[in-house]
Symmetry: C2
């Protein structure tokens, strides 16, 4: 499965692993893939510590950092995160906070100790925070790529990333997105089909990938949304992608940041349990069905706010559920793709990577056997 | 691409073409694939005429007939179609008929001449009609398979089909459906991903196919939803399917039943224009966005009725739009999958089939070249 992007990034397998967990990122890059740390949810100081740790663990290999800048960030450009936080807080109706707190108390999730930091105190998906994340990433020379989960970064940031000798990765959910990203200087496109976890679009992977590949050639395309086996990697390369971008399968590893309860939920989930919800960020996001997502579908629920406001509403829940994992069985918040239905056991990240590679080889051998069968019996079925 | 199902059905390419157009069915079976005629919308007498025609055109090859029986048909089991029609009509609120007529008149679509038959006078998706269709199919010996677009036929009908020496094909949108169908005697499973046209589910093809293959092995699985190129066929076989089931690409052929205006709409459609609507049958159905689908999304629109009642509501529109094609530019009713976004020109059905086969070979050769590249430079990127 050696494609041009393997040469570009000096990697053995064109398998990109998106994870919020530094252990997964380091394990995948060390094993010949390319780990990408999701920066959202980290303060700049926390992110610096994570990247320092990965730098030490990753040896001579490189890795990436994923930031989240909305394409339309009107009103959230503000140099000082604290001032921005205050400004955004003022836009959240009290009923949203009350409803989020009620969901947690209905499930008996304890309050945080007074004064303890939670994610609702952090502005997550704005260019202000993403710029701080990007600056931190560029201070780490082994960070070879900066990805924006919502497409092309603003022009000046793309310029900074390029000046620092790094590459820009942009995610897209349609041909039009992809073309816009390339016009804005994105070096590698991730085409994510509707089955993917987190923010996702409407077009299925099988249909989206080849159209994006054709539309942006020769810009390399990574296939995302539904990558959980080597056969799915083979399908991605068959459809013209130069590699794959995967997230959900890494949630199912021993190393991942999930609570044990979330990992259990992931293992038992069927594909149809990875549903679309706006309850986490305000944008369409695929996540495991849970007490949290269902509460936001009830008739009495307030309508989720747009990004980045719903982030603030959900932030406290994210932190409380990870602080008190024993309560995260029913009411967890777990972005995940439909490939969740394929995860039947928890494994080590490096084993998952090698299994993908092994299954890929088996798959191409199986396809070849079908062709040889045809060659061996030409025209036997021809009329 | 020679798989076991090629031997089972004595076909050259495991490419199944679903179409309501007899020309497409005959052309595909003649060219080495397997055509399947969609019977819905035909009276039993019309269907008999279509099958007689195909029998003559298809030479020594075989083909299939697709019928539509809901899994839950309570209240629609009734021997006499005319009595059933009257019974069902009584369940349709007058506002639904009025709204459908208003959509047509808003777009200037002429009324049918008095007394002229239209599709709203026909009970389409019930076991009563489907049994008549199946009986007609079994009277034609070249009909090798009877497919049910909504899964497993009732047990007694499956028994009749088997006794006649034919095979039962059942469509599914989830692993659970597939397992139920196999338990009910279905011989070949079609796993249709969410991107597919017509009645469709929630799970993307890339994720659905391998799970269904694994769940029902050794029962053969055909991959549906997003098949429009040989690379997509290769992806399907890579994921373990024994062949593909395609519908939308055949709409884009010279032979298809679409009006020229619908064909134009198909050629310009992007994948995101193939949306989910309940306006045609009452069930989730993917179709091209048009004045018809948009009208049913308006706040003042009545909520579409469940199958088979919405069929009756939409039936007159289906007929009027095909009778007066010059009005079908904006207000057409065109079930189609997301693969519509790949169709850029109208071609002959036999050319489409041969192109799929040719692209398939190119794709597997391209994958092999990637492997050879790895073999030729072992460990160059290994750390």
């Amino acid at each position: 499965m050696r494609t041009d992007i393997c040469d570009l990034l000096d990697i053995e397998f064109p398998i990109f692993a998106f994870s919020h967990c530094r252990d997964v990122v380091a394990a995948v890059s060390r094993a010949g893939g390319f780990g990408v740390l999701g920066a959202v949810g980290f303060t700049p100081e926390q992110l610096a510590a994570e990247l320092d740790w990965i730098d030490k663990e990753v040896g001579d290999n490189s890795y990436g950092v994923d930031i989240v800048i909305p394409q339309n960030d009107a009103g959230a450009e503000e140099g000082d995160p604290a001032r921005l936080h205050e400004k955004l807080l003022g836009q959240v109706p009290p009923e949203h906070f009350a409803y989020a707190k009620k969901i947690l108390s209905d499930h008996g999730v304890p309050e945080l100790p007074p004064g303890e930091f939670h994610n609702g105190l952090l502005v997550r998906s704005t260019s202000t925070t993403a710029r701080l994340h990007a600056a931190e990433a560029l201070r780490h020379p082994k960070v070879r790529c900066v990805a924006n989960a919502l497409g092309a970064p603003p022009q000046d940031l793309t310029g900074q990333i390029h000046e620092a000798g790094r590459l820009v990765i942009g995610l897209c959910g349609s041909v039009e997105h992809a073309q816009r990203h390339v016009a804005n200087g994105v070096d590698i496109i991730v085409a994510q089909g509707a089955e993917g976890g987190g923010h996702t679009g409407y077009i299925g992977s099988l249909v989206l990938w080849p159209q994006v590949v054709e539309a942006v050639a020769p810009v390399p395309v990574l296939a995302a949304g539904g990558i959980g086996s080597g056969a799915q990697v083979a399908a991605a390369l068959a459809l013209g992608a130069q590699g794959v971008w995967s997230g959900t399968i890494w949630l199912g590893t021993e190393e991942s940041e999930l609570t044990d309860q979330q990992r259990d939920a992931l293992v038992v989930a069927r594909s149809q349990d990875a549903i679309i919800s706006r309850s986490l960020t305000g944008k369409r996001s695929r996540m495991l069905k849970s007490g949290w997502t269902e509460a936001w579908e009830k008739p009495e629920a307030p309508v989720p706010l747009p990004l980045p406001l719903q982030d603030l509403v959900a932030g406290e829940a994210v932190t409380r559920l990870s602080r008190y994992p024993e309560y995260s069985r029913d009411v967890h918040i777990t972005p995940a793709g439909q490939v969740a239905g394929q995860i039947k056991q928890v494994r080590r990240a490096s084993d998952v990577l090698l299994e993908l590679a092994g299954e890929y080889v088996e798959t191409t051998e199986r396809l070849n056997a079908l062709n040889e069968r045809l060659d061996a019996a030409p025209g036997t079925a021809a009329k």
